[in-house]
């Protein structure tokens, strides 16, 4: 026995697939052990030399197929058959027959039971994920190719964006989510480098309704680890954003008068001042105090005091322009920022406020009509806001010193 032949036998004995060579009459010329082992529980030992009998459990009409064979190389292609040996778990065998040369055939048998179970598990997993993806509300989950063009779409995307699959496929991601001016290419590069990237901004939903989108872009890698696309999860965060805005507004607002409180005034004033600087225009501030407010409180009670504060704040708001900012700094003190207004113009505006409040009749809880007056310090913005507010405050102090109910400019 040659060493070569021995090696061939050894290979055949260890081959993890079954191989059976036979001729057009079904006579088995060669077979390896696994082919026989696979078929052994289903056929009689005497059938082992006839391929048509040996393989009958996999294909009952193999003989007819071979008789009709027209010379093509592939006779049976990866046919899967479930075999159930007595008292044991069903087994799935994948079965192919090729014609190796005229009149000669090779059958290949593989036990793919584990593979089938894995495939079934994967399919179930995919179905479960599909159901989740399609059922989630307020989320769209889809994928894009490496350049950010949509390559898979589903019901979740249709619901959030109002786009059918045909409308969405090949659409660029930057048409769907807002990266706040950042080029899509940069966003995707960062997603590749870090594995993910989050962007937030405005998107357009069904019927052209805008919604605030919070988007997670995760990189998908191919088997070699190279980025081949992205999974995109878009969340309609409009409600979250609305809640955040409501909270911020609450935190920035004086509950009694609905004016900005000190915090809200500072935040909005800094934006307005920056706009004035950009446009090269002046801005001025007023510090306003209600004269003898303590006396009102002491005489008529705090409820009437609150009415006075609300009446004065309403009057200030009514008399000022929409772009002007009014805040209540606590107690009976108010501050006003007048964008685009010089100190001289601000004095005129302050005088108009003073006289409007003076004319105001405020009804007390007891039915009396009260009149209050205000003192105002004016300062044109120079340097930063806190220093300007201090100068206006000094002017207000001077107005009080000079007898109240008057306007004094810093």
């Amino acid at each position: 026995m040659t060493d070569e032949l021995e090696r061939l036998y050894e290979l055949l004995y260890l081959l993890p697939v079954g191989v059976v060579a036979f001729d057009s009459a079904g006579v088995v010329g060669a077979a390896n052990p696994l082919s026989v082992q696979l078929m052994n529980p289903f056929v009689a030992p005497t059938a082992m030399h006839n391929a048509f009998l040996l393989l009958a459990p996999l294909m009952a009409d193999l003989r007819e197929l071979i008789e009709r064979h027209d010379g093509r190389h592939v006779v049976v292609s990866r046919r899967r058959v479930v075999l159930a040996p007595d008292g044991r778990a069903p087994m799935t065998v994948e079965f192919s027959v090729n014609c190796s040369r005229p009149g000669q055939f090779v059958a290949i048998l593989a036990d793919v039971t584990d593979l089938v179970l894995q495939e079934r598990e994967l399919r179930r997993e995919r179905d479960r994920i599909r159901v989740i993806v399609e059922m989630v509300r307020e989320y769209a989950i889809f994928t894009t190719d490496r350049t950010g063009h949509v390559d898979s779409w589903n019901a979740s995307g249709q619901r959030l964006f109002g786009l059918t699959t045909d409308q969405a496929i090949q659409r660029s991601l930057d048409e769907l989510v807002d990266s706040q001016g950042e080029p899509l290419g940069d966003v995707l590069e960062e997603a590749v480098l870090a594995g993910w990237r989050r962007v937030r901004g405005w998107s357009t939903g069904p019927d052209d309704m805008a919604f605030y989108s919070d988007t997670m872009i995760s990189t998908l890698a191919d088997d070699a680890g190279r980025p081949e696309g992205f999974v995109v999860i878009v969340h309609d965060a409009s409600e979250v954003r609305q809640r955040e805005e409501d909270l911020r507004r609450e935190a920035d607002t004086d509950p009694l008068t609905a004016l900005a409180n000190r915090r809200g005034f500072d935040a909005r004033a800094s934006r307005l001042i920056r706009a004035c600087e950009v446009n090269g225009v002046a801005a001025s501030v007023l510090m306003i105090d209600i004269d003898h407010f303590k006396l009102v409180n002491d005489t008529y009670g705090h409820d009437t005091g609150d009415r006075v504060l609300r009446a004065v704040s309403d009057e200030l708001t009514l008399r000022l322009r929409a772009i002007d900012l009014v805040g209540r700094f606590g107690g009976e003190e108010f501050a006003v920022l007048l964008p685009g207004t010089t100190g001289d113009a601000a004095v005129l505006a302050a005088e108009a406020l003073r006289s409007a409040v003076e004319m105001l009749g405020i009804e007390t809880l007891g039915g009396q009509v009260l009149r209050v007056r205000i003192s105002i310090g004016v300062a044109q913005l120079e340097g930063d806001l806190p220093r300007t507010l201090l100068r206006a405050d000094s002017a207000l102090y001077a107005a009080k010193e000079q007898g109240r109910n008057r306007v004094v400019s810093a």
Partner: protein
């Protein structure tokens, strides 16, 4: 030296095989495969070598059920060696020897504490 005249069916065959020398075992007309406790091949006689086309030197030391004859790694053969402490059973089986499916009778011999277990192969 007289040639052994043991028959495949002999009831005291296990004891005779244990007592025999390797030279004597090579004279036996049916296949004799001796396995150690770990199921590695410790002896492979000439008859079995002729049936399978594998020389003893290639096979000895290998794990029989996974490295030599995976077609026996099943409930009918390997499982019985793994689970039955005392074993003397004859089963009809099909071996694929030299690429030909060959009906054979297998005799499975095992006893607790013995240095060798035997798998005997006879063409039916």
């Amino acid at each position: 030296m007289t040639l052994p005249s043991w028959q495949f069916e002999d009831s005291n065959l296990y004891d005779e095989l244990l007592a025999a020398t390797d030279v004597e075992l090579d004279e036996v007309p049916f296949g004799v495969i001796a396995l150690g406790e770990d199921h590695r091949v410790v002896f492979y006689n000439a008859a079995e070598s002729a049936l399978s086309g594998l020389s003893a030197t290639r096979v000895i030391g290998s794990h029989f059920f996974t490295e030599v004859a995976p077609c026996t790694n099943n409930f009918m053969v390997a499982y019985r060696f793994q689970t039955e402490e005392s074993l003397d059973a004859t089963v009809d089986y099909v071996f694929t020897l030299r690429m030909n499916p060959t009906p054979v009778r297998l005799r499975l011999l095992r006893r607790p504490g013995e240095r060798r277990q035997f798998l005997l192969v006879q063409r039916s």
